[in-house]
Symmetry: C2
Subunit: 155 residues, 2 copies
């Protein structure tokens, strides 16, 4: 694929548009495969996996609902229901926040940590096979630098 240098703004070449479309398709496709793996092997949706991961990486395995919602790209109400389900399955618990009576912590349980540990190899293998292994080290570095430009808010 050759990109004509229409870097002067105002118009978009069809090749540029195709890059965006391919990005969309690749991302959706990989994500769906990943989620299918987790669902089949561990009965865990991708959003649930993300929640467990975020909690496991947080101090005391806990996070305020609001913070957690932001990190997993969910609305507050969406996270409320997701935590409902995870709590029903015993993977997460709700705990009051002493310093702010409005606040709640979502806390990872031992069962949740175990479930996460079981699922993580599946997750990592999926990403490795479908993403990391397909690119070489240079490409990965380029990818990282592009992403920091595209998404400066990232940690």
């Amino acid at each position: 694929m050759t990109l004509t240098a229409s870097e002067s703004r105002g118009t978009i070449s069809s090749e540029e548009l195709v890059v965006w479309r391919m990005l969309q398709r690749a991302q959706v496709r990989i994500t769906r495969l990943l989620e299918a793996d987790l669902l089949v092997e561990h009965d865990l949706a991708l959003a649930s996996y993300d929640v467990l991961t975020q909690l496991s990486e947080s101090p005391d395995r806990r996070l305020r609902m609001n913070d957690l919602a932001e990190r997993v790209l969910l609305s507050r109400s969406g996270l409320t229901r997701l935590i409902d389900r995870l709590q029903r399955d015993g993977l997460v618990e709700r705990e009051a926040c002493t310093s702010d009576a409005r606040g709640l912590f979502a806390v990872l349980t031992d069962a949740g940590a175990l479930r996460l540990a079981e699922a993580t190899p599946t997750y990592l293998r999926g990403i490795r096979d479908r993403f990391l292994d397909v690119l070489d080290g240079d490409e990965l570095r380029q990818c990282a630098s592009m992403l920091t430009k595209l998404f400066p808010e990232a940690e």
Copy 2:
């Protein structure tokens, strides 16, 4: 960001994992902004826009339901309902397929083409501002080459 060369398979460095996470977040974020633009300015969901685009680029502005579903990454039933809505709004019509009585064409109407033409500047501007303009020509080329490796099935 520095990536250690753990290109030998089997393990994944945390830096590599972060690249994937950033990709997820960037893609979701840009897509949501894009969809919000289309929704606010043209009352058009992204999936609807994609359908109209695919139809407009197809011979005789028509596509079999099945083909269309694949192109817009929707299940058959999902596309059935989406076409229902678009037909209700007069942007698309269903037409029987003479050579195969099982088949149906989704056909772009004049109103649909007009609506697409109205919405396209919004769409292009969104992609330009949030994606294309952020990267330079070299980066876009690299991106394209990575994507063809990640998603070989693309046209």
